[in-house]
């Protein structure tokens, strides 16, 4: 990766514990994870892990990360958050922020919530800027990231 950003980046999936009584033989799971940062004004967060989630409309980050760099979380427009299982819904507050992916810095709108258990990189803010090729059959699995440059 150079000062002009990276053209292509290969990243190995990361391992997580897995506990599912329906699949007791599986105790470890691989997930496509990126280490990213966010920037608000001139304050940058520490690097944190976020899962690549093509089914997610927006990037969602733990509100504590935004608050730690001075974001007034509840001042942002509020939206609901729901998943594939109907039921509980959380609150998300949207803010413009800068997302740091490797040497790339993207200006995005992202959701911040105290109700999420995992940071998520979704369509708007992430997948609209990168071509992502998942190599889930590899051992260990990996993915390749290519920046989409629009002119």
């Amino acid at each position: 990766m150079g000062a002009q950003g990276f053209q292509s980046l290969r990243v190995t999936y990361k391992s997580f514990p897995f506990r599912n009584p329906g699949v007791p033989e599986q105790t470890l799971i691989w997930r496509p994870i990126l280490s990213v940062q966010i920037i608000h004004n001139h304050a940058a967060s520490k690097r944190f892990e976020a899962v690549l989630d093509i089914g997610s409309d927006y990037c969602l980050f733990d509100a504590n990360i935004g608050a730690s760099i001075g974001m007034k979380i509840v001042d942002g427009p509020e939206g609901p958050l729901g998943g594939i299982i109907p039921g509980s819904r959380g609150k998300v507050y949207y803010h413009k922020t800068k997302l740091v992916v490797g040497t790339e810095i993207l200006e995005i709108k992202a959701g911040f919530s105290w109700d999420i258990t995992t940071n998520v990189l979704g369509h708007f803010g992430f997948f609209e800027h990168f071509t992502v090729t998942l190599q889930s059959a590899f051992e260990p699995p990996c993915f390749e990231l290519q920046r989409i440059h629009r002119h």
Binding site: P17, N20, L28, K46, N64, S68
Partner: protein
């Protein structure tokens, strides 16, 4: 860099609903806390200025991350 099994073990043994901080090279745990900020402070106390923060969920049961707004 730790092995996949070692990383999974560390995450499994971490306190639910907490944060942990790995060292910059992701070879060891350098901090933890009940909040992101606590984990960052703990990492810095241990001399790590570029930690990698991970949120520990309440359970390691299967998750579907996808959502719509």
């Amino acid at each position: 860099m730790m092995t996949a099994e070692e990383r999974a073990r560390i995450l499994r043994e971490a306190k639910p609903n907490s944060w942990i901080a790995f060292s910059s090279d992701e070879s060891k745990v350098v901090g933890c806390g009940s909040t992101y900020s606590e984990a960052v402070q703990d990492a810095e106390k241990h001399g790590e200025e570029d930690p990698l923060l991970i949120k520990i969920p309440d359970t390691w049961e299967p998750r579907v991350f996808s959502h719509c707004v």
